[in-house]
Amino acid sequence: MTPTGSAIAIAGAVRRGERSAREVVDEHLAAVEAREDEIHAFNLVLADEARAAADEIDRRVAAGEDPGPLAGVPIALKDNLCTRGVPTTCSSKILEGWRPPYDATVVQRVAAAGAIAVGKTNLDEFAMGSSTENSAFGPTRNPHDTSRVPGGSSGGSAAAVAAGFAPLALGSDTGGSIRQPAALCGVVGVKPTYGAVSRYGLIAFASSLDQIGPFAHDVADAALLLEVIGGHDAMDSTSIPQPAPSLSAVLDDGVDGLRVGVVRELLEGVDADVAASVQRAAEALAAAGAKVEEVSVPATIYGLSAYYLIAPAECSSNLARYDGVRYGLRVDADDITEMYTATRAAGFGPEVKRRIMLGTYALSAGYYDAYYGKAQRVRTLIINDFAAAYERFDALLSPTSPTTAFAFGAKADNPLAMYLSDVCTIPSNLAGHPAMTVPFGAGDDGLPIGVQVMADALGEPVMFRVAKALEEAVK
């Protein structure tokens, strides 16, 4: 029932003409058909479009062309990535029905590599949340236990990969929105170095923190997808002016001689089963030849506070444009100010409103220095402490999420408790560093646990080597 085969295996078979892309797509669409009602990974399934795209790939293969490294591989796209002519909602009523007139750079790049978009995945509205419960179109369920959340905000993408709807997915990560749901759904999730992947066409939540990254079943597939979407893009001023680093080539280099630090501060307050997994992961790396030690990165303890000042502030500005004038929802009113306030009150859900309010407050007259300005200085402290750690270590290790997947509603009434889900992932966003999660064991409840590997800016190659070693250790 569940489709098998990694993205690499599928693309290889399709390129060699051993499997048709159409057959691959049909198989995955059948999986969607079988379980999507239960999971609700997608806001939109692109069945007809995917079949047509698959037929085109097959035609090209038959004509002797090479459709690219992801030939015929189904991919699920988080519904905050703009897709030309295809509704892109951010799981918000305010954008319901909006069809962007352009494709995000990553959407162009995966299509150019031969991948086939099978659907737009559910998310917490505007990527604000850690459970996908904040979607205006209903929550996504964790394929491992449908009474639990998949994590968030990229819960739909994580669930789509975990449920076998697609071997690959794209998500976005502002404070952990790829890594935390990947961990909770038992898949690999990567937040690249800030600027490594173009943000053009990613609907912004917090611009200085947002990064697009891959979901996959294994580290090699994630590496391949990152190679496809990475590299400079002239449409994004914050794009690193370098080609994407080669990752696939270094995956099997091993960790012998690498220095790996386990971050003490990020183990505090996490569940015992999660901490135990991190401990076993550290031992596994040591067994594989790495030099593993505990390390302190003190300023990370301020990460959550800094994040919840910076991200809402940027979001309050990024989301101003949803005003009922040019696109999306409008609630008619007598004058424009009433139209604005009525449209935004009706179009945004409670969490989005809360963050807009928080961010507006933090930027308003008299508070800038105490809140946003201060948080930016804390960001510097975190970067400095990481820099000190990276003088002694090649990569760092920590839990991805303090807990395994939690039940629906468990944290819905307490924003702060929900925010704490991201306490381990946020520091990398603030520093702009790469970080990824690899499934490593299960919790006392039998649900997946993810271990986070972090590296210095542009340290993806070493990060992937460590991740690959952890994956090997689990096998």
């Binding site: 905050n80 990535l81 703009c82 892109t88 951010c90 954008l95 909006w98 962007p100 007139p101 352009y102 995000a104 943000r199 053009y200 066409g201 990613l202 609907i203 912004a204 917090a206 611009s207 200085s208 002239a234 449409m235 994004d236 001023s237 914050t238 502030a313 940027e314 309050s316 500005s317 101003a320 444009r321 005003d323 004038v325 040019r326 696109y327 424009i336 100010t337 604005y340 507006t360 930027l363 308003s364 007259a365 800038y368 946003y372």
Partner: protein, 479 residues
């Protein structure tokens, strides 16, 4: 408004903010055309429409123009960053404006007016323009009483350079001179087409008044919607009087933004009291700093043309006149012609007069004159070979395409200065024919001088030299 009793006891203080639309092919942050007058919403893309997911990328030429203007205004060109200025308005697609805030590209310069007065420049910064809103229903396209509005985003994202002066301006005329001079600099540097009527230059004036002896400034009001030099001057005069009247009546000035209504000739408060603005500036995370290095700055500096002030100084020096006297020539781009003509030995005064009157009147054909032909014409006039009237006619003929040899034109038309005795005879005939007017002239009535000169001109078919006629008349009156 009534006459002010104590107008001379007050001093007006003005600082100007000039928004200049930069002359580029494309917009500030996207590749859409930067063009005036196109069909609405035809020069738009995801970036300048603020569509979700779009990102800005800075136009290199905008930075270079800003650097050029900065140089021309004697500013320091600094490392600069962009901020977001957050407020809701339908002409602004993202509901924030990307603008340079506390770290602008150009800082601390000055602009010298033709009369030598220096106005300090606080800063010049890059920012994006808004779209255009048309108000439908109600009266005359005005916002109040309109039923609804229509928005065109062609102008949204057009690059602006906002140039902020120190409050060094003291009169409406000085404000006009400042804007004229700034406009000339912006045109000379290639930054602007200078078309105020198309909104390429838009001026806001910060106006306050204070008792003439006081050193501290009064409370200022910002006047918006000044779309011509005439509006600028009228608005400053109106606003200063309004403030003086309030103060003389014992009231105080409320710091606010006021809108100039050209047809009513008055300013009015722009917004309702409850509307509080809090722009929540923060650094634009989608853009990175602009930090021109020495090499780039040097390249830009080398590309600067000779600026109006230097052109005035150069000509004034050569002609031995005050710079202000040649301001018009520089504005008309005739300074080089005069400069070359003077270098060829032509009389500076006559050269300046002929250029700024006769040549200016047919400025489109000024290219038909060469320095040597112009200098030759001036030389014939100063040598008395032709009269001033004849010189003007010959110049008109040269501009009209009748060749660039003034001597040939003089010969063809039979122009020669009359000899003294023929002219004296004509003068005597005119006197004899008009005894009443002559009695008035002899009695000291200067007003009939023109009448006699005109009559002599008529009789000599314009060949007479007006100055010689006047001299002959005066000699005869003294007899």
């Amino acid at each position: 408004m009534s006459e002010l009793v104590h107008a001379d006891e007050w001093e007006t203080v003005v600082g100007l903010e000039v928004h200049c639309e930069l002359k580029t092919e494309s917009k500030l942050f996207c590749g859409c055309r930067n063009a005036f007058g196109d069909e609405p919403n035809t020069n738009v893309c995801p970036v300048c429409l603020g569509l979700p997911g779009s990102l800005p990328v800075l136009n290199r030429h905008v930075v270079e123009l800003a650097m050029r203007v900065g140089r021309a205004l004697h500013c320091r060109v600094e490392r600069s960053i962009f901020h977001r200025k957050n407020y809701f308005y339908p002409d602004m697609p993202k509901d924030y404006q990307i603008s340079q805030y506390d770290e602008p590209i150009d800082v601390e310069g000055h602009l010298e007016l033709p009369d030598g007065y220096r106005v300090g420049i606080v800063r010049a910064h890059i920012e994006e323009d808004t779209g255009k809103t048309a108000h439908i229903g109600g009266s005359g396209g005005r916002i109040h009483g309109a039923d609804h509005s229509l928005v065109d985003y062609n102008r949204a994202g057009v690059p602006l350079l906002e140039i902020v002066s120190e409050p060094d301006i003291r009169t409406a005329d000085q404000a006009k001179a400042y804007v004229s001079e700034l406009r000339a600099i912006l045109v000379a540097t290639g930054a602007s087409d200078g078309k105020m009527e198309e909104g390429s230059l838009r001026v806001d004036a910060n106006v306050s008044v204070r008792p003439s002896h006081r050193a501290t400034f009064g409370t200022r009001c910002e006047i918006k919607n000044l779309n011509s030099l005439r509006s600028l001057a009228r608005a400053i005069e109106y606003e200063a009087r309004r403030q003086i009247e309030l103060l003389e009546a014992g009231e105080s000035i409320v710091q606010e933004t006021r809108h100039w209504n050209e047809s009513e000739g008055r300013t009015s408060s722009m917004r309702s009291k409850e509307e509080a603005f809090d722009y929540r500036y923060f650094p634009e995370p989608d853009l990175v700093p602009v930090a021109p290095d020495e090499a780039w700055q040097a390249t830009v500096a080398a590309s600067l043309p000779v600026l109006p002030a230097e052109r005035r100084a150069r000509l004034a020096d050569a002609a031995g006149v005050a710079p202000a006297e040649v301001a018009l020539l520089v504005e008309l781009d005739l300074d080089q012609l005069v400069l070359d003509s003077v270098a060829l030995g032509a009389d500076p005064r006559v050269s300046i007069n002929r250029a700024q009157n006769e040549v200016a009147a047919d400025i489109g054909n000024a290219g038909r004159l060469t320095p040597s032909s112009f200098a030759a014409l001036v030389a014939m006039e100063t040598a008395g070979k032709i009269t001033a009237t004849q010189a003007k006619q010959v110049l008109a003929a040269m501009l009209g395409g009748e060749g660039d040899d003034p001597a040939a034109i003089v010969a063809a038309r039979g122009f020669e200065a009359m000899d003294e005795s023929t002219l004296a005879a004509s003068v005597d005939e005119v006197i004899a024919a008009n005894p009443d007017q002559w009695q008035r002239f002899v009695g000291g009535d200067q007003k009939v001088t023109g009448f006699f000169v005109g009559q002599v001109m008529k009789r000599t078919q314009g060949k007479a030299d007006g100055k010689a006629v006047t001299r002959l008349l005066q000699e005869r009156a003294r007899r």
